[in-house]
């Protein structure tokens, strides 16, 4: 069965109905295991002390903040090319989730940075890039909210997401250029020599899985709500005409 079967709203509602409880369960499991493990059962870092425990929140949320936008981009492209309403609504549903992850990344980044760098906020390239990302999220969400006709909104927000993605990438490089930054180099490089030791890496992996699952769960739930809302709108429009 092709994945496009799920593009049909009714199919999507049926399938997501039974997937959702499992998703919720797995999410809670991974998050609880990962965070408890990381918080209670890992040592302090030699240089960073106990603040290394923030890594279990900061890294997964930062990863998901970006991944959420990428998902929105893909969903927007699918809407533009194949006109599947579920896709457009999934992008709409994902935006607040991505925004939340971005805010978590910023908050934990600032809280981590304060004892490390001695300042509540530093215009470090990565933190700055995330600050700009929140603006992109706000704009996208605001545009959806401002337009009444759902198909028009879906089209315009999809175009915005596409153009925005290009500029978000440009901004990332511009901000890097603008400031060499205080962030340590990539901590999660897969092929290079290990930058984090296993004792931190394994619970981190579980936390990352937990955040991914959280994203999936939330997007499934919110897309279902969007589909219902769309149906509601259509029914109300029918009433007005009759």
């Amino acid at each position: 069965m092709s994945i496009w079967e799920y593009a049909n709203p009714k199919r999507f509602m049926q399938s997501s109905a039974w997937v959702l409880p499992w998703a919720v369960g797995l999410t809670v499991l991974c998050l609880v295991v990962g965070l408890v493990w990381g918080f209670f059962f890992t040592p302090d870092d030699a240089k960073q002390g106990a603040t290394v425990k923030i890594i279990y929140l900061h890294v997964p949320s930062a990863m998901m903040a970006i991944n959420a936008w990428v998902m929105m981009l893909v969903a927007s492209l699918i809407w533009i090319v194949r006109r599947h309403h579920v896709s457009a609504l999934a992008a709409k549903a994902a935006a607040p989730v991505g925004l939340t992850f971005t805010l978590i990344a910023l908050a934990t980044g600032a809280l981590w940075g304060q004892p490390m760098w001695g300042t509540w906020w530093a215009w470090d390239p990565r933190l700055t890039a995330f600050l700009i990302l929140t603006l992109f999220y706000f704009g996208y969400i605001a545009l959806w909210a401002a337009i009444e006709n759902p198909d028009t909104a879906a089209d315009l927000t999809a175009i915005l997401c596409l153009v925005g993605s290009v500029f978000a990438l440009l901004s990332r490089y511009a901000v890097n250029f603008w400031n060499q930054g205080l962030h340590q180099g990539a901590t999660l490089s897969l092929d290079k020599e290990e930058n984090i030791s296993d004792v931190f890496w394994l619970p981190l992996l579980v936390c990352i899985a937990g955040f991914v699952l959280l994203f999936v769960t939330m997007v499934l739930m919110r897309t279902r709500t969007e589909i219902r809302a769309r149906r509601l709108q259509a029914l109300l429009a029918r009433e007005r005409v009759a």
Binding site: F136, I147, I159
Partner: protein, 213 residues
């Protein structure tokens, strides 16, 4: 021919952006203090941010008039491709906003104690960068043209898109004042302007078509 004239019609707002730019150059020293050293250091940034915000002021008028009186529908069906209409509108906006700002900037640089080495780079960076602001602005205006009060939303949508141009443009001026190498930011900023001018009219035209449905 009439279509061409319609396409170039800029919708006014000529003085407002310039007045705002001027105001900013007065308000910032009042807020920051008269110390010449401080002002001189932040002048490139202030001038660039000011130009950016001033451009923003007249953006919603790029398509608004034509949308309201139906000329946009005419333009969409005219022999000129809608993408070209967008480019012409952006050009008109630039001639009426970006270019005057660029010419005015050195005068304001004096008020902000811009170091002498920076003036040439200020004008060059604005000359190369403000077209990007107009084209990006036209894209934003196309997105919100159907909304009655799109002004604030327009700013929210467009300002993040302005960030790369702002960073590189201000960097050019800053490095110019210090005599450092600035080929990279200059090239990047010019690249963004060219890329935006070449590609964004397509996105903007697509948005206009959606709004005209």
């Amino acid at each position: 021919m009439r279509d061409l004239r319609l396409a170039i019609r800029s919708g006014g707002g000529f003085g407002l952006g310039l007045a705002f730019f001027f105001l900013l150059a007065i308000l910032v020293p009042l807020g920051v203090g008269p110390d010449g050293g401080t002002l001189g250091r932040i002048a490139p940034g202030i001038l660039w941010v000011g130009a950016l915000l001033a451009c923003l002021l007249s953006l919603d008028r790029i398509f608004a008039l034509d949308f309201e009186d139906g000329s946009l529908d005419l333009l969409a069906t005219a022999p000129i491709p809608l993408e070209a209409v967008v480019a012409l509108k952006a050009l008109a906006h630039w001639l009426v906003t970006g270019l005057p700002l660029t010419l005015m900037a050195p005068g304001l640089g004096v008020l902000l104690n811009l170091p002498p080495a920076g003036y040439g780079w200020l004008v060059l960076s604005l000359l190369l960068g403000t077209p990007a602001l107009s084209v990006i602005g036209a894209f934003g205006a196309a997105l919100v043209v159907g909304l009655r009060r799109g002004g604030l939303l327009l700013s929210l949508l467009v300002l993040p898109l302005y960030v790369p141009t702002l960073i590189f443009g201000a960097e050019v001026v800053r490095r110019g004042t210090e005599g450092l190498a600035l080929a990279t930011p200059l090239a990047l900023m010019a690249g963004i302007s060219l890329g935006a001018a070449a590609l964004l009219p397509f996105a903007a035209a697509a948005a206009l078509r959606v709004n005209l449905r």
